[in-house]
């Protein structure tokens, strides 16, 4: 065995080396995306000889490994590849990225699925066309595939046994064994290729002849799908990953290798693009053919070109294959090579790289040449008449290496319309194409005459154009294209549409946004196509099902929507027929997605419709996979539909219950999980949890969900039953089990019927012994779960029991553990209060908390602070005896060397200030105040902020008069601190100053307040809105305290500054001063200021007026006449901003005084506002329109209508536009009021315009 391994390793090593030399890919693939390591890392390099069913797939294992750190058991994770909790740390906007980049291996398996050929629609009357695939065909294929899989496994097993036997017989002789093939990945073809070519070198016969070799998977690969021409290979048609696909989405195809072809020419698949090559190869020696030479990776446009006669680039470049064979040169080689193939990311990068190189090597233009050469001494010659420039390097590359002027060679016809990888302006206003789009849309760049195309081709072209617009276009383009696609869906037909759309969705470089758009297209088109969609159901499902397990929530929703629409369009029978073969697919991925899709079908068409089918599937005798999937469908239905399953619960449970005793363990597990999902009613589920491990975890989990739903009596009974197992499992070393057990305990304990005594006696001792250990605090998830569970238990058994048990641990030596204890205590105490805590416990608690608080070293201090605060607040007056001790600690720590410690101490003061007041410890607080005052010289801003916060808390509770140090000493000390630019300092400081100005302004001389006013002006620049708001309010308080004059003078002066934000805040402050000190104290000075001939000042005054009238509302009626002349002037000013601001002042004024009898002044102002209606600057016109709206409220709609009527039918359109705009807003605002005010219209001929009803009089 070891020798074999060594052999394999050696061969793999060689292969790797070869690969490195062989292609440019090693240089060019993006190391950011694919990592610097081996890019095949994480992929299985070989097929295990004995594929055991229990052995999970690589992808699956990979997922399970990644998910191992999540909270739920692996078995569940396997079902839900998403993270369960909202543990995403990186929420927020992400830049657009390719879907494939964020997918894990499991999800990436979607790319292995192939888009199956369409199937026969059973609902049409005509008999199926022999070439169409019917349900029977598909089922037969599926069965064959399964058989083959089993056969292969058998063979593998037998072989392995033989080998083992041999190996045991003679240890010395090493048996050369074929390197087993790689499996299942489309990116590794080159490897596969290499491997098989190596094989070809070493062996002379076909690989069938080798007695001991693995049945060459390579051979299987060549098996055509049913839609294609059959060939010599046994027509076992398998639609799985090994297959050649008929889709354009695959790299064509190393599998049909010339090597094999050379050996057994008859076996080469016919009808492939490749068949030309094997013919050549047949002549040549079966040499290894390098698959991914860079010629293969030329852009896809080539693929759609007509075959270039004679130009056989593939053969010309294949090392070893002699290109001279002029005879065969006429063979229409697909210049295409594999160009219809999907671009793998490496290829795609190559393309990018190539484009870059070409850009640098482009032909020099005449201008450039002129610049390079001297003007004299050179002559510009005309090119020879026969010269045809080669513009595109891609063709240059193709053209040059032709067998040096071989007689039979002729220069290929050029298609002038063709443009290769030059990203040129796409014709006809098409959007930009990314290189990876060429293979799908390349044909669009051929500017052939559309008239020459057949109608079918034209249709294809049209579809492609529209799709490209949807995919890459601007929003308007996209919108119209989408609409056209929808409108013409039936005209285009389902076939052409889906054949274009679906491959796009399989494109590996697809981005989220693009997928979203394409899915949207499918959605719209589905709706239109309706039953025409039937033959394509499976195709669509293959593409859409992966969305159901996408990690993006919206992708999943979209996927569901599409499948639900699809099932409505195609009908249940078609859906079942399409998906039935996948139910027992050998690939877990296929089964998983199919189950999810089925659940969506169930929700779309109703559960009852699906029940008979589900029943049949769940009882399938043929394969456990079918039963597994069936039961999984039920689980998915439960998850998807939630409580909507209730009506069908009984039938669903009946369908799956036998799964609990299934012979297959996987089926039992999924059944338990499904039951957990169906838990609502499965109250009588029997506790059969006899086995341990994964199954047990699943059982426990489902019980956890079920017990809370039971009646109280049952709940307590079952809890006791389960508890034995749970308690046994408390000691389980398995992390998963721990988490589940904790969760189940939490759920059980919170159930009604479970008694506190029972918990106390039976659960608590074991629980604390096993879980309250230091190790639990180290893992964040364990930590959380344990805290939650303990809090839940405390809710049942009370504070004293729990706190009593853990209080000692507050002095534990492990800090994370202490933190966990503290957090638990905090939550418990906050929930339940501290009344249960007796004197002894109280002492222990305070002692422990003080210890934990003092010993903390980590950065995250909040847990300790919150805990301290919560406990102290809960204890209330009972803390009194301990306060001196606490304050002593605080004082001590305020003096600490470490800034962090000082900050924590200050923060603690603000938490406990209220309780200190309750304990009548005012003297102590005063003392603390003095201490804090002394520390105001603190240099660390974070600490200073906390100290200010603590002072604020003390001032708040003991009041201005009793405050020590006295306010008159405190405030002057704060004035310089206001200069501090640190946000936390500013915020706390301005709060404190504002509080003093509000409550205790009289303790401070006016001069000091003025000084503070100046400092405050600076604060208006703060970034934080809260600070600016507090500052503006403080101006109000100060003005109230010392009278508005001085403050106002300061503020008005500040209007002259340049900074806009500063001026705006000043105007707000002025308005606030006016509001607090009555407008009459402010208005004269303000209006006087308007006389300053300076734009900023005048605008500031106007803005202040605007705010002022907004704040004072009704009070404005006394001042409106006073300010009218000023506003008149402003509304006539040349400056737009004057008029704009005046208009908004008028608006506020009008709204404030509506109904208070100021109409005369308002009409006067309206006359000044009205001429501004023709302004076009958005802000101005907006302000003017709003002023008019205000006037409508104040003057009534009729008055404004009268202004309007003059222009509604004005001969100039521009005038009419504006007037109708005003009319419309008038109409929307006061439709009913206008009825009485409409003008009288005279009847005209037959048309009655008059409204005689209004003339009626009794």
């Amino acid at each position: 065995m070891e020798t074999i391994d060594a052999d394999i390793a050696k061969i793999q090593e060689e292969r790797r080396k070869k690969e490195e030399i062989a292609s440019l890919t090693t240089v060019t693939y993006d190391s950011d995306l694919y990592g610097i390591g081996n890019r095949f890392e994480g992929y299985e390099r070989s097929i295990p000889v004995n594929e055991d069913e229990e052995d999970q797939d690589v992808g699956e294992r990979e997922v399970a490994r990644k998910l191992a750190s999540y909270t739920a058991p692996k078995s569940v994770m396997k079902d839900l590849p998403r993270g369960m909790g909202g543990d995403d740390d990186d929420l927020g906007f992400k830049k657009p990225q390719k879907i494939i980049d964020r997918e894990d291996d499991y999800r990436r398996r979607r790319l292995n699925q192939i888009i199956s050929p369409e199937r026969h629609d059973a609902f049409t009357d005509k008999t199926p066309d022999p070439s169409a695939r019917t349900y029977a065909d598909v089922m037969k294929e599926a069965a064959l595939k399964r058989q083959k899989e089993e056969l292969l496994r058998e063979i593998g097993k037998k072989k392995k046994e033989e080998e083992e036997k041999k190996a045991s017989e003679k240890d010395s002789g090493s048996v050369p064994v074929q390197p087993s093939q790689k499996r299942r990945n489309r990116w590794d073809q080159s490897q596969e290729q290499d491997a098989s070519s190596k094989k070809a070198k070493t062996t002379t016969g076909s690989d069938w002849d080798l007695p001991d070799s693995t049945p060459g998977i390579g051979r299987w690969d060549a098996t055509p799908t049913p839609g294609r021409v059959a060939d010599a290979t046994p027509s076992l048609s398998r639609r799985n990953r090994w297959d050649e696909t008929p889709t354009p989405g695959r790299l064509a195809d190393s599998d049909a290798t010339p090597a094999a072809g050379g050996a057994t020419p008859g076996a080469t698949p016919a009808g492939m693009t490749w068949d030309a090559t094997p013919k050549l190869a047949g002549l040549a020696t079966p040499t290894p053919k390098r698959q991914r030479s860079r010629w293969d990776e030329t852009p896809a446009t080539m693929g759609s070109a007509t075959p270039l006669p004679g130009a056989t680039p593939a053969s010309a470049f294949t090392p070893g294959v002699t290109p001279v064979g002029g005879v065969d040169l006429a063979t229409p080689t697909p210049g295409a090579i594999n160009l219809r193939g999907a671009i793998t990311p490496e290829q795609y990068n190559l393309l990018r790289w190539e484009r870059d190189i070409e850009e640098r090597n482009r032909p020099l233009t005449d201008d450039e040449l002129d610049a390079m050469f001297p003007q004299e001494g050179y002559k510009i010659l005309d090119p020879p008449a026969s010269y045809v420039p080669i513009r595109t390097p891609a063709r240059k590359l193709l053209a040059t290496p032709t067998p040096l002027g071989t007689p039979l060679y002729s220069i290929p016809e050029e298609n002038r319309g063709q443009q290769f990888d030059v990203p040129k302006e796409a014709p006809g206003g098409l959007p930009f194409m990314k290189p990876e789009d060429y293979q799908y849309f390349g044909a669009l760049l051929n500017e052939e005459d559309e008239e020459e195309l057949s109608p079918e081709e034209q249709k294809e072209r049209k579809i492609m154009k529209l799709l490209l617009k949807v995919k890459n276009g601007t929003p308007p383009q996209r919108k119209t294209a989408l609409r056209q696609l929808t409108d013409k869906a039936r005209e285009f037909g389902a076939g052409p549409l889906f054949n274009r759309i679906l491959p796009l969705l399989m494109q590996p470089t697809l981005e989220d946004q693009e997928r979203h758009l394409l899915v949207k297209v499918i959605d719209r088109v589905l709706y239109k196509l309706d039953e025409l969609v039937r033959p394509f159901v499976h195709k669509i499902l293959v593409v859409i099902e992966p969305l159901l397990i996408d990690e993006d929530y919206y992708a999943r929703v979209e996927g569901r929507e599409i499948i639900s629409n699809l099932s409505k369009a195609a009908g249940l029978a078609t859906m079942i027929a399409a998906m039935r073969p996948d139910i027992d697919n050998i690939d877990e991925y296929v089964r998983n997605t199919t189950a999810r899709a089925f659940s969506v079908v169930a929700s779309a068409l109703g559960i009852p419709a699906l029940l008979p089918f589900l029943k049949a599937v769940c009882q399938s005798k043929k394969s456990w996979q079918a039963r597994h999937t069936g039961i999984k469908i039920v689980q998915q239905i439960a998850i998807l539909m939630g409580c909507a399953v209730l009506p069908h619960l009984r039938s669903l449970v009946e369908i799956i219950e036998h799964g609990l005793s299934d012979e297959n363990q996987k089926v039992r597990t999924i059944t338990a999980l499904s039951l957990a999902a169906l838990a609502e009613a499965a109250a009588r589920m029997v506790l059969k949890a006899s086995t341990r491990g994964k199954v047990l975890a699943a059982f426990l989990k489902s019980i956890g969900f079920i017990i809370p739903l039971m009646d109280a009596i049952y709940a307590s009974y079952y809890t006791k039953e389960v508890m034995f197992i749970l308690i046994r499992e408390f000691q389980s070393p398995d992390e998963e089990m721990k988490k589940i057990v904790l969760k189940v305990v939490k759920q059980c304990v919170s159930t009604e019927g479970v008694e506190a005594d029972y918990i106390r006696s039976d659960i608590l001792p074991e629980f604390f012994r096993n879980f309250w250990v230091r190790r639990m605090a180290l893992d964040r998830r364990n930590y959380r779960q344990l805290v939650d569970t303990t809090v839940e238990i405390a809710n049942k058994v009370g504070v004293a029991d729990i706190v009593g048990r853990i209080v000692e641990d507050l002095k534990d030596e492990s800090e994370p553990y202490r933190r966990m204890v503290m957090e638990t205590i905090e939550k418990v105490v906050a929930n339940l209060g501290a009344s249960d805590i007796d004197a002894r416990l109280e002492e222990l608690l305070i002692d422990g908390i003080l210890y934990a608080f003092q010993e903390q070293t980590s950065d995250d201090a909040n847990v300790m602070l919150n805990g301290f605060g919560a406990v102290v607040n809960a204890l209330g007056q009972r803390v009194k005896p301990y306060l001196p001790q606490i304050c002593g600690t605080i004082k001590w720590r305020l003096n600490n060397k470490s800034a962090k410690v000082r900050q924590q101490a200050a923060d603690l003061i603000s938490r406990i200030a209220v309780v200190m007041k309750q304990c009548q410890e005012e003297q102590l607080m005063g003392h603390l105040g003095v201490v804090l005052y002394e520390y105001l010289g603190e240099e660390y801003p974070e600490v200073l902020g906390s100290i200010l916060g603590a002072l604020k808390a003390i001032v708040n509770v003991i009041g201005m008069t009793k405050m020590t140090p006295p306010i008159k000493d405190l405030l002057p000390r704060l004035t310089p601190i206001l200069k501090n630019r640190h946000e936390k300092v500013q915020e706390n400081c301005i709060d404190l100053v504002g509080r003093i100005a509000d409550r205790g302004a009289e303790f401070v001389p006016a001069r000091e307040w003025m000084r503070i006013c100046f400092e405050l002006l600076e604060m208006l620049k703060a970034h934080k809105k809260g600070i600016r708001r507090a500052t503006v309010n403080t101006f109000g308080y100060i003005a109230k305290a010392i009278g508005p004059q001085d403050v106002l003078a300061t503020l008005l002066n500040n209007l002259k500054v340049q900074e806009r934000q500063n001026r705006v805040c000043t105007t707000v402050a002025i308005a606030i001063v006016a509001e607090t000190c009555s407008p009459f104290t402010v208005l004269p000075a303000l209006m006087n200021e308007y006389r300053v001939p300076e734009l900023n000042v005048q605008n500031g005054v106007l803005k202040s007026l605007s705010f002022l009238f907004e704040y004072i509302g009704e009070m404005g009626k006394d001042y409106i006449y006073a300010v009218t002349p000023l506003l008149e002037d402003a509304l006539m000013d040349r400056d737009l901003v004057h008029r704009q601001t005046a208009a908004s002042a008028v608006k506020h004024m009008a709204l404030g005084v509506a109904g208070l009898g100021c109409e005369d002044a308002l009409v006067h102002l309206l006359n000044y506002v009205w001429p501004n209606i023709f302004e076009t600057s958005p802000h101005v016109i907006n302000a003017v329109m709003e002023a008019i709206e205000g006037m409508r409220v104040a003057l009534g709609a009729a008055a404004i209508l009268n202004y309007c009527l003059q222009g509604l039918f004005h001969p100039a359109r521009k005038v009419r536009e504006v007037y109708w705009k005003i009319y419309n807003s008038l109409y929307i605002g006061a439709q009913d009021a206008l009825v009485a005010a409409y003008p009288i219209l005279d009847d005209e001929g037959n048309n009655v315009y008059s409204r005689p009803e209004l003339m009626m009089f009794v």
């Binding site: 016109i1181 109708w1220 419309n1224 807003s1225 439709q1231 009825v1235 009803e1253 009626m1256 009794v1258």
Partner: protein, 98 residues
């Protein structure tokens, strides 16, 4: 007509991106009675008439006032007004331009 509509939108976009008029079409759909620069006398009159009848029917005191004046029952009066809302001004006149 086509041109007018286009001009209309251009104009609207230029100046009132910020207020309620910014989406004239939407507005028209929501408030049938709103007008535009190409509204003719007949169309406006129809709006006025319909609004008037809606107002009469909507205010009970007015409706009862009309009922007394015409010596009809209130229900009949309401019915009449509703009927008149169908073609309040008769058939639209022939367009002279177009």
């Amino acid at each position: 007509m086509q041109l007018n509509v286009r001009l209309n939108t251009v104009f609207i976009q230029a100046s009132d991106r910020f207020n309620i008029n910014s989406q004239l079409e939407h507005l028209q759909a929501k408030y049938v009675g709103t007008g535009h620069a190409d509204l003719n006398r007949f169309e406006w009159a129809v709006n006025i008439q319909r609004d008037s009848y809606a107002s009469y029917v909507g205010h009970y005191p007015i409706l009862s006032y009309f009922a007394i004046a015409e010596n009809e029952s209130i229900g009949r009066e309401r019915y009449n007004f509703m009927q008149k809302m169908l073609l309040p001004c008769g058939l639209p006149p022939e367009r002279e331009d177009d």
